[in-house]
Amino acid sequence: MNGAERMRRELMIRVVRDFTGGRLEETIDRIPILLRPKNAPFSRCCLYHDRAVLKYRLMALLGCRLEDEDDESKPLSAYLNEALAADLSIEGEPLTVASAGCSGCPESRVVVTSNCRGCFARPCLFSCPKGAITVENQQSRIDYDKCVKCGRCEKACPFNAITRTVVPCESACPVGAIRKNEHGVAEIDFSRCVFCGQCFGACPFAAIMERSQLVHILQAMKRGQKLVAIVAPSALMQFPGSVEQLFSAIHQAGFCDVMEVALGAEETTAHEAREFVEKMLAGQPLMTTSCCPAYVELVRKHVPALLDKISTTPSPMKFAARQARARHPDAKVVFIGPCIAKRHEAREAAEVDAVMTFEELGALLAGRNIDLQGQPPWPLERPAAESARNYARSCGVSAAVLDELRRSIPELADFKLDVQTINGIDKKTLRTLKLHAAGKAPGNFLEVMSCPGGCVRGPCSLVK
């Protein structure tokens, strides 16, 4: 855990605590000051800057799109009242950038540091393919009109004197969706963004924030709206105690029922296996999974040639939400998981009304003083299949589908199954994906997970 995660969680806990105590409207404007009182240590340039960013952090926690702020003098209590009066579901993209929090990191380049000893051999100068290095006053210098940032000098220097400055958000983003705007602060281009959440985790200033529905959910509970929680399989191992105890705690926190998304994953498996056979028999060369929403968004925006290869099988979340609705027609459905892209998928899907992250769930339990130890086990109707719970791990989906194929579809013997997996989306695996799109990579079943390791390593998981 780092300082940014800690602050995020502290704020969430405080908001839940004050909401539950019925005093949030009165405390919310004070929270930035209470957390950064005078004479206390601060993290940015000064106390006041910290407080200003805390205000934006709370706005994002209230679901605001920070880019839309048009009145800087508007107090948090006014934003809170809007959130309290609003519907459960919120519109628009799940990520937002606090420009006041962005440090405007200087553009990435290769720099010579004071470690340079102006040595005799000058490997940097000799390794540079562009002749960009000269030596002046016993120090190497880079001519940035010539430098192509290849980094060879960096590797050649025996003193580690040459280094590369990075813009963490930009280098984390696999699709070039985050850039500086004309004011020098980061801005997300949502025509490119796939909501993978990598910038969110990478920014050391924590300027990239998720737009939360936490307060909307709290308010719906208070209004007496029935809410069913559907919990992603990656919840296993995220909290101390058993799944059954976790589910009891979730129920105690205010949900009328708690169900496993893995039950939906069972349906996804059966459906996807059938679809795969149909597609193969129809002569389609490749089918890919569809359960990772960041991957689906990636294909839509960056690899359209793969669009018709994505399975049309609904995701486990959608199947589970349908089960929840069938069981509780009068309730709203809240998906609980480690994922930012699911917020986007849920906003587009009719089945799910709100999304909550594991961090937010943890804060809900903490803020309501609900402990996991000592919880009675929740009476699961039946535990979901092991293979379905394994969806949360890389290779889990393909293993489940493969298993299903072997078990239930005998005509499978007629063609060769060739499973490939992409474990984590980055600039390199994106190139592999494009090869698949062009039919230049092996495999007829492709599993893609945006997070390396699978959902268990999601951007909003508690234990990484």
């Binding site: 855990m1 800690r6 969680r9 101390p240 000592g374 508690l462």
Partner: protein, 93 residues
């Protein structure tokens, strides 16, 4: 034997868990080998230190009854060192 062991209670109440205790669960692995049979590590329910601002910040750990706020593996080791060797690290204070 057991009575002589140093008791380390890691609070696994939800607040502490969320604010860092999740990372302390592997504390045992971080201890020097020669300390391992001298301590008894337990994950305990909420120590009720999180309900007031007065005792410092979560995560809380109790070592032989002494409460360590904002506990880290390093802070716990420091405390163990004092108990085991009877002195503070880096000489007497």
């Amino acid at each position: 034997m057991c009575a002589d062991k140093i008791k380390i209670d890691i609070c696994c109440g939800t607040t502490c868990y969320l604010l860092g205790a999740a990372d302390l669960v592997q504390l045992e692995a971080k201890l020097p080998d020669e300390w391992k049979d001298k301590v008894e590590i337990a994950a305990v329910p909420c120590l009720e230190a999180c309900t007031t601002d007065k005792l410092g910040q979560a995560p809380f750990v109790r070592v032989n009854g002494e409460l360590i706020p904002r506990a880290s593996a390093e802070a716990i080791c420091e405390c163990l060192f004092e108990l085991i060797s009877g002195q503070t690290r880096g000489g007497a204070r």
